[in-house]
């Protein structure tokens, strides 16, 4: 059962990478198993949950349904490639500050879907955010802290000095 391997060159988180793997492996499997990038998670492997979202040429896709062999010459960005050096990406900072990650398992997928949203739309409405994240399931948070984190990060990325809403952090009463 030794599978013939294919070799591709592509860019992962800004670095050129050459990888050889069995041709039926998905991008998800190659990232996690061949490149050791386990930050990308999986929840169904059938495109039904959004957990494995990565950016492919800047576009958020489900890495469980992308064949790695089809990624030659393309740019892949995973959660490991969000932070700039020791500095967290504004989305990461906002997710951490607001408690938008509870178990944290869906978080990488949400971060990348949100990153793509903000790249296209720096000032999204709440509805824009709900729509853009409608392909990512989260069982812990009820999504609200995620929306609020995206809004906060968007403000930071626009260069505004925004503080989290106190009600977001503290509730009422």
């Amino acid at each position: 059962m030794v599978q013939p391997k294919v070799t591709i060159r592509f860019e992962v988180n800004g670095e050129p990478v050459e990888a050889a793997f069995a041709s039926h492996k998905t991008l998800l499997e190659v990232l996690r198993e061949d490149l050791g990038l386990t930050g990308t998670k999986h929840g169904c492997e059938l495109g039904e949950c959004g957990t494995c979202t990565v950016l492919l040429d800047g576009v958020p896709v489900l890495s469980c349904l992308v064949l790695a062999a089809a990624c030659g010459g393309r740019r892949v960005r995973t959660v490991e490639g969000l932070a700039r050096g020791p500095e967290l990406h504004p989305l990461q900072r906002a997710f951490a500050d607001l408690g938008a990650a509870q178990c944290g398992y869906c978080t990488p997928g949400f971060l990348l879907a949100a990153e793509a949203l903000l790249a296209a739309n720096p000032r999204p409405s709440r509805e824009d955010i709900e729509q853009a994240l409608a392909g990512n399931l989260c069982r812990c948070t009820g999504y609200h802290k995620i929306y609020q984190a995206v809004e906060l990060a968007a403000a930071w990325m626009r260069g505004e000095t925004a503080e989290p809403d106190t009600e977001v952090l503290y509730g009422r009463g």
């Binding site: 059962m1 599978q3 069995a22 996690r32 990038l37 386990t38 930050g39 990308t40 998670k41 999986h42 929840g43 169904c44 492997e45 059938l46 039904e48 949950c49 957990t51 995973t78 959660v79 490991e80 932070a83 967290l88 989305l91 990461q92 900072r93 997710f95 951490a96 500050d97 607001l98 408690g99 990650a101 509870q102 178990c103 944290g104 398992y105 869906c106 978080t107 990488p108 971060l111 955010i129 709900e130 729509q131 994240l133 409608a134 990512n136 399931l137 069982r139 812990c140 948070t141 009820g142 999504y143 609200h144 802290k145 929306y147 977001v168 952090l169 503290y170 509730g171 009422r172 009463g173």
Partner: protein, 827 residues
């Protein structure tokens, strides 16, 4: 406990701080179980039964063994010792010995050099089954005693029968001005954690086993491994990885955990298993489908004279936590509104489906749904506002209930007032236009079960604290972070007491080699129990540092303040030491600085059989108002917003508390409207659609707005007064929505999920002049045992039964404790 709960400005407690693991989680650095790999690691897969009920006649693995790359195959005979989470139901085998009990029951296991090879090998294991008739529902189990799914239990296919009576309910019904009966049904649902269960085992030739697993209960996995593998517990190390969501679904010891351990022992290589999403549905242990009948007598003012509650739970193929679940369907009815006489009959049936167990709220969302809808109907019959009816008859704080639960702080009244005010209840209730409505419901939940799962007198949670010369503090605790933030709670409490920054506290948890036992992340016990344990350890550490520091500073020890990374004189804050210097002094004076802390809940007040389920050091309270919109042409219900107030005692991290509430509302919304574990009874009892696509979990587009109010009324038993928040806020959501649907369109859907089909059916029936109710129509006849009669405290009772105990089935007589108690876990 809680010397520090005396009012003083907290520096850490109650703030909205980053969780200690937040950065790891947002950078993808957190290692979940499937993220681990070891050199020479093998991959395991389980062969599962395609039959709902069958005898295993023959199993031939030779075809699979011949496949290159296959390293080992296990069958039931390799692991013949039974296990199970509760001592009273050790009815599972890692791999079927001679019988399979649901589609998905594990039969054999393969370890191979790759998952591809392991998958290919499964189909080459030849298995011959002799199919047996399957029991497909609890009602069928009541009717059909044969074939028995298990040869133990309370007769036929009834796993457990409970009959408890606290006072003479018939007398109460006679005194009542109105007696109302209702039948309700709560469909089964599953946890659906985003992370599929995974486990990795490593066996060392010196006879030591290490298991990493996505488990909420490493301590119980440790015990199960020792039992089934026949290894000394001292040679087994279980490490619970951070759980990618638990909600109760990772609280049992599982077959796959035992299997990879055995495969590692057999092959001498590390072995990992990662379940597919479909297999996670087969692990299940989720919400029991529960049929309920409730009869309540009330006076004209709404005061309850007596309540009689019956439940029938569909348990699935194994015991799991089911005996506890069954008790829980009857335990907490008494802690919200005054119930002077109470009778409970509960039954759990075995059926040929994946086993049910503890899901967030464990056994209590079902009766809470029933009770809160029932009360809504009673209020209408009495012409009372449902909020008013509840407010008038609240259980008083610091009292004992009819079934001997000790209620401590009780903030439900404030919760109700908050949501009534916040939602504009008085302007909306029965006043919104057709198609829009509001509904109110309340609830309560445990802050940890009062008793452990297996009988013992040891603490429920332990902590060791190590203080460094560098000023760092390390907390060792067996608790498991499943996303609810328990690691952070340990750091915050330590930081508060020792006056250091939470980032100076390192937290080592959930490792049976390194950390003292904590029973696990279930029953919403961790903040209260490990919180009290770490509070004790930190206070002891502070006391250790106090003497040498006081001596050095020439200040009376009690005058020292620990804050801002310093130890200083309260009277002269400039006079002080750094925390690190204080540690050095203490180490010089008395040697290595470390302390321990532990927590054991107070003894239960009830002393009857079954009294072990329900007691808790503290009860949280919640009230919710749901607003709904019902499309009368389709029956589709949408929920624009929910106002929810939760009595949490005291927030340790306010943002985390709000997060748990929002997440609970989310899960309650899913159960109310769409989530359903459905099976095809006529097609081999297969799960209808075990997938993320067809098991309907609300997306961003279904989630409602949540307006959260926190009620802080510190409980004397909680660390700094804290009570639970991970599970309780789910409970009022389904009944609030059901009541709101009635307010909107005048129909009663007396079951969840409240699907468009049911709503439309009810609307049409009502239009035709029929009842406008959809729900169950009968509760089956069940051969209940004689009741265990316990006079309530106000009838001169002392918590002991006056009759009924002797009639219990023989197999329970030798048990010291029937069980104790557990819940599903937040996140």
């Amino acid at each position: 406990m809680g010397a520090d709960s005396a009012p003083r400005a907290h520096r850490v407690i109650g703030r909205a701080l980053r969780k200690v693991d937040a950065v790891a989680k947002v950078t993808g650095a957190t290692k979940f179980a499937d993220d681990l790999s070891l050199p020479r690691m093998l991959y395991a897969k389980l062969l599962r039964s395609p039959h709902p009920h069958a005898r295993l006649v023959r199993l031939d693995p030779s075809g699979a063994l011949a496949l290159p790359g296959v390293q080992a195959i296990l069958t039931g005979r390799d692991l013949p010792t039974p296990f199970g989470i509760l001592p009273v139901s050790q009815d599972e085998h890692a791999l079927a010995l001679d019988r399979v009990r649901f589609v998905g029951d594990p039969v054999a296991a393969v370890a191979a050099v790759s998952e591809d090879v392991a998958i290919a090998a499964l189909d080459r294991i030849a298995v011959e089954y002799e199919p047996l008739p399957a029991i497909t529902s609890a009602e069928e189990a009541v009717q059909r005693a044969a074939p028995r799914i298990h040869d133990y239990g309370d007769g036929g296919n009834l796993h457990k029968l409970i009959h408890l009576e606290f006072g003479d309910v018939e007398e109460g019904f006679r005194e009542a001005d109105l007696v109302v009966e209702d039948l309700l049904f709560y469909e089964g649902s599953t946890h659906l954690p985003m992370e599929q269960h995974a486990a990795l085992a490593d066996w060392s030739p010196d006879g030591r086993l290490t298991l990493w697993s996505s488990t909420q209960t490493p301590h119980y996995v440790h015990r199960a491994l020792a039992k089934v593998l026949g290894l000394a517990p001292s040679r087994i190390r279980v490490i619970a990885c951070p759980n990618g969501g638990g909600f109760g679904g990772k609280s049992d010891p599982f077959s796959h955990e035992i299997v990879v351990a055995k495969l590692a022992m057999v092959t001498g290589r590390p072995v990992k298993i990662t379940l597919t999403r479909e297999e996670v549905f087969y692990c299940h242990r989720g919400r029991h489908p529960t049929l309920m009948w409730v009869k309540t007598g009330v006076k004209r003012d709404g005061s309850i004279t007596a309540m009689h509650f019956k439940s029938l739970l569909d348990g699935g193929g194994y015991g799991s936590y089911g005996v506890a679940s069954t008790y829980y369907t009857g335990a907490l009815q008494t802690v919200t509104y005054q119930v002077p006489r109470y009778k409970f009959q509960g039954a759990r049936a075995f059926t040929n489906k994946p086993p049910c167990g503890p899901k967030r709220g464990h056994g209590t969302p079902q009766p809470r749904f029933a009770l809160e809808v029932h009360l809504d109907k009673i209020a209408e019959r009495l012409g009372m506002d449902p909020a008013e009816l509840r407010l008038r008859h609240l259980v008083l704080p610091h009292t004992l209930t009819a079934n001997y639960l000790r209620v401590g702080s009780m903030g439900l009244g404030r919760c109700i007032q908050q949501v009534v005010e916040g939602s504009g209840w008085r302007e909306k209730f029965r006043r919104l236009p057709y198609g829009r409505g509001v509904g109110l419901a309340c609830s309560s939940y445990l802050s940890g079960a009062g008793l452990p799962i297996y009988w013992n007198n040891m603490p429920h949670s332990g902590v060791q604290l190590k203080l460094d010369r560098g000023g760092g503090v390390t907390v060792f605790c067996g608790s498991t972070d499943i996303g609810q933030g328990s690691d952070s709670i340990l750091a915050y409490i330590t930081a508060e007491v020792l006056g250091v920054d939470p980032l100076d506290v390192r937290v080592v948890t959930a490792d049976t080699d390194l950390t003292p036992v904590d029973l696990g992340s279930y029953s919403s016990r961790v903040t209260l129990m490990s919180g009290n344990a770490v509070l004790q350890a930190a206070e002891r550490a502070r006391d250790l540092l106090r003497g040498p520091a006081a001596q050095r500073l020439g200040v009376p020890p009690q005058q020292l303040v620990f804050a801002d990374g310093r130890v200083f004189d309260a009277a002269d804050p400039g006079r002080g030491l750094s925390f690190a210097e204080a540690v050095e002094l203490a180490e010089a004076a008395g040697g290595t600085v470390g302390t321990v802390g532990s927590y054991t809940p107070p003894a239960a007040a009830g002393r009857y059989r079954g009294a072990g389920v329900g007691p808790s050091p503290a009860y949280s309270y919640t009230a919710a108002v749901a607003e709904v919109e019902v499309d009368p042409e389709t029956g589709v219900v949408t929920v624009p917003r929910i106002w929810i107030a939760h009595d949490v005692g005291q927030c340790i991290n306010r943002a985390a508390v709000v997060g748990q509430i929002e997440g609970s509302v989310y899960m309650g919304l899913g159960e109310a409207l769409m989530e359903e574990m459905a099976y095809r009874a006529n097609r081999n009892v297969v799960h209808r659609a075990p997938s993320m696509l067809e098991y309907k979990s609300p997306t961003t587009l279904e989630m409602c707005d949540v307006i959260t109010y926190l009620i802080e009324d510190p409980d004397p038993n909680g660390p700094f007064g804290a009570k639970e928040v991970g599970q309780g806020p789910l409970l009022p959501v389904p009944p609030a929505i059901a009541n709101a649907v009635y307010d909107a369109v005048g129909v009663r859907v007396d079951e969840v999920p409240i699907t468009p089909e049911k709503v439309l059916k009810a609307i049409k029936a009502k239009a035709k002049g029929e009842s406008g109710r959809v729900g169950p129509t009968r509760f089956p006849e069940i051969p209940w045992p004689e009741p265990i009669r316990v006079p309530p405290p106000w009838a001169g009772g002392d918590g002991q039964a006056i009759s009924g105990e002797a009639r219990r089935p023989a197999e329970f007589k030798t048990r010291k404790s029937d069980l104790s108690a557990v819940g599903g876990g937040g996140s």
